[in-house]
Symmetry: C2
Subunit: 581 residues, 2 copies
Amino acid sequence: MYRSHNCGELNITKIGSEVILSGWVQRTRDFGGLTFLDLRDRYGITQIVFNMATDASLCEQARNLGREDVVQIKGNVVERSNKNFNIATGEIEITAISIQILSKSKTPPFTIENDTDGGDELRMQYRYLDLRRDEVRDKIITRHKIGSVVRNYLNDNGFLDIETPFLIKSTPEGARDFVVPSRINSGQFYALPQSPQTFKQLLMVSGFDKYYQIVRCFRDEDLRADRQPEFTQIDCEMSFVEQEDILNIFEGLIKKVFKDIKGIELQDFPRMTYDQAMELYGSDKPDIRFGMTFNRMNDWVQGKGFKIFDEAELVLAINVEGAAHFTRKQIDELTEWVKRPQIGATGLIYCRYNEDGSLKSSVDKFFNEEDLKSWADHCGSQPGDLILILSGKTEKVRKQMNELRLEMGNKLGLRKAGDYKCLWVLDFPLLEWDEDSQRWFAMHHPFTSPKKEDISKLYDDPGAVRADAYDLAINGVEVGGGSIRIFDKVLQAKMFERLGFTPEQAQAQFGFLMNAFEFGAPPHGGLAFGFDRLCAVLGNSDSIRDYIAFPKNNSGRDVMLDSPSVIDDKQLKELNIKTTI
Amino acid sequence: MYRSHNCGELNITKIGSEVILSGWVQRTRDFGGLTFLDLRDRYGITQIVFNMATDASLCEQARNLGREDVVQIKGNVVERSNKNFNIATGEIEITAISIQILSKSKTPPFTIENDTDGGDELRMQYRYLDLRRDEVRDKIITRHKIGSVVRNYLNDNGFLDIETPFLIKSTPEGARDFVVPSRINSGQFYALPQSPQTFKQLLMVSGFDKYYQIVRCFRDEDLRADRQPEFTQIDCEMSFVEQEDILNIFEGLIKKVFKDIKGIELQDFPRMTYDQAMELYGSDKPDIRFGMTFNRMNDWVQGKGFKIFDEAELVLAINVEGAAHFTRKQIDELTEWVKRPQIGATGLIYCRYNEDGSLKSSVDKFFNEEDLKSWADHCGSQPGDLILILSGKTEKVRKQMNELRLEMGNKLGLRKAGDYKCLWVLDFPLLEWDEDSQRWFAMHHPFTSPKKEDISKLYDDPGAVRADAYDLAINGVEVGGGSIRIFDKVLQAKMFERLGFTPEQAQAQFGFLMNAFEFGAPPHGGLAFGFDRLCAVLGNSDSIRDYIAFPKNNSGRDVMLDSPSVIDDKQLKELNIKTTI
């Protein structure tokens, strides 16, 4: 037996017991004749005491231990004189009887402390040591707990966890597939799923009614910060439901997760259409922890001779409460900030509503105080506020203003960690135009149902067709999204046609699904949450990597394994493929 | 709202309610002025009644419905005059008020009944329809339930569900990897995991202590019946444990699954060493639902002038209770059966212990009745029994006799469905010799720990080294296996050397793990269950395919998707690969 207890469970009720503990040496400290050893495992830290006076050789042995050595210690539980009420085991310590070294450790390349001295790359290379640090370990444990809560909620609501295949068929629509050469079927390839979308729809056709899976998905995209080539979805689908049914069940899920994991009772989630979100926040996933919504200024600012405004398709203002005290220097910095290529604005106009009621703008040449007062009234500004204005093409200026709003939220501390605001964004457009390929793409995916009343516009005005599609945003992060699906073969064929598929292409790629619709498909819809993302949002973390045990870096490499890597010629030969570089 | 209730929940307590149901038309029957419609969903079947006298047009509409049409029906719950107590909804029926057709169905290519007229291939091509059949659907639901029980048990025992990567590094040791070309890292490949073995060991090094995952694994093997290129494991690992700890926790898991799923309380599992299993059953996964164990006959049969026995390395007999009545014809058939190439015996000797106490064998020329009596005594035979004897090289004759024993078990009805016998097989050999490549291979995998007392034989007598490795067999099927792992870098390096790796090869392939062992690795071990297999065993099914929603056929193809398939040249180009066929 390696241990009678773990390092997190002994307390004063166990005083007098002889125990065996196993774990890692967190640190040793010598105080005159005493040596204290902090023994660590997943559950906590227990203090072990060695006394030079009573057992010099054992004490000597303890002093020779290094950090991260794995040891087994037998000893007696005694009450501590110097109690530490911050940890569960802080009222006791163990008087050691014997030590057995189970495994020596070299000096780790970085300290196993929350405040480690290891850089990102080094910690990723030794991820198994990084995972020993409390804060990293706790994130992985939290992920486990969130997964359990999700499963229990869905099980309790009659959902079935049904596994779908990983070796599927490549369907070039959407993101790029990872492919897997087949040895037995030479010259042919499987693809790894970007999501189980078509399978969950087939399960609905099969009558399974309520499906879920916490499942790995794969996308071979050009990587950006905080994108992983493999990621995990909480993937769900339901039959005989309308949008309202779906929103209710998954709002319940998110509430349950927050309650069980964070102890937070969330209020009912507000809802907003995509159009409203874009008008008020310039984003389809607005952070509604703070206001500072957009004001359309065109009617207030155009026709006064200021060319930039006059030529703009859209002039937008936000009112920044209590920011009139911003200095000229601070505003200049903001102006530089919006002019960076990442934001791309040509400039920033401001109007300061001073505490004394006077108004001052950077465009006083064109606008008198009465004009400025009308701006302030339109924006709901009060003395002490600062109005910031951007102008240009609608889509661009909205994006820029969204960034500026979030930045002002950050600067003023309005995006509080620990404050969680969920929002349903509804009625997404069905299609979006791609300039590069000069064609319409499905905004969600090709299986999303257009709103009934908009179907007639599919050809005349495709951009105006709204979908029965919805996203859940928490604190400005999209954590999930879904839609009501098409379940009619004719409409599905029409959709593929609209997306530029020939009937043959549609049949070759998605024939199995369209054929399935001919044998009695129920109305159905669903939703998928990004599990990594949901964990990160709950943990107030910007990075999903923290919540993945073995993540890849921004080039899609696992630096610990040194993968991907070249493979044997023999393997390539068996697969009947050749590399061409 | 598509439904107020599902098709399995209405009963006499709901009489008088107006309800809305949605589902599939299982069948319609006309009786004079009445039409009965069985409406089906995942939860059951509800009978709907249409009356020609009260609403002719509605009744006409119902008569025009086809099998598998999806309809929504509004109606009133009434008590049935002709009750069916076999189904939950059998005491009520619904008097229809209206029908709405949600989705028409073509005539399915086979009947959606347990006793379907569809062949295997057709059902696989239309798997989404096959899944509608009660017995198939129930298997998928049972799988969901087993998964839940497993997770709850492991969660309750402090295990953490931790996800490991799917895009990993190819390590040619063991079975063949599926590989995934990397586009961003040209000329390099990921591999799909054959199991998360090295990751779970790294998690132990990280201190996670108790890990599990229900996880997809991939092996590119030449397919045989009932092998899938992708399969699911219940993968577990624990730190600071000895073999006994692991056996106990997972025996508890299996007991819990049988109790919760089948209502069966299993007794403590017997244990047997690998050597015993081979001697008594000729199998490392014996079916112990029945006896008929092997008897070594060499000392009883050799030296009497019967050349076949005299030259045999091993002569084995089984005593088949109560089978003395087997006719000459039946025994001839058995002889042909063991001589088939799949079994490969050269012949079968029998000795009949007649009810009258006389003995008769097929080798009476060489053995007198006294000899035969000594055989019977040695085999524990009674009058009325039949002794069957095979001889030859040890390994072959054991395999043959194992097959014959199982066949006799089948013939005599001793392998009863619903009777479950679990067995731990312990002390597997560490290594096995491969004739083809003339080298030793790890029987379990290269991370398995040899028994301490056998380590010294690693070089002198590799075949005699036993491992701390164990399998769980249920009714003759291996449902799981595992081992205590090596956690010492030096021993791990020695093991790789023994397997023919140069130090450089070992470092290149498994360096990340061996390096991890230098930073304080805890003693650890684990086990993995084949989840598909476990489900099949619980369901008394020979085929794991029944328990997989979308299985592949024996050529690794998904006939529903028609996958694998050729991919675009554009895709190949982006990946910098070429097919060579």
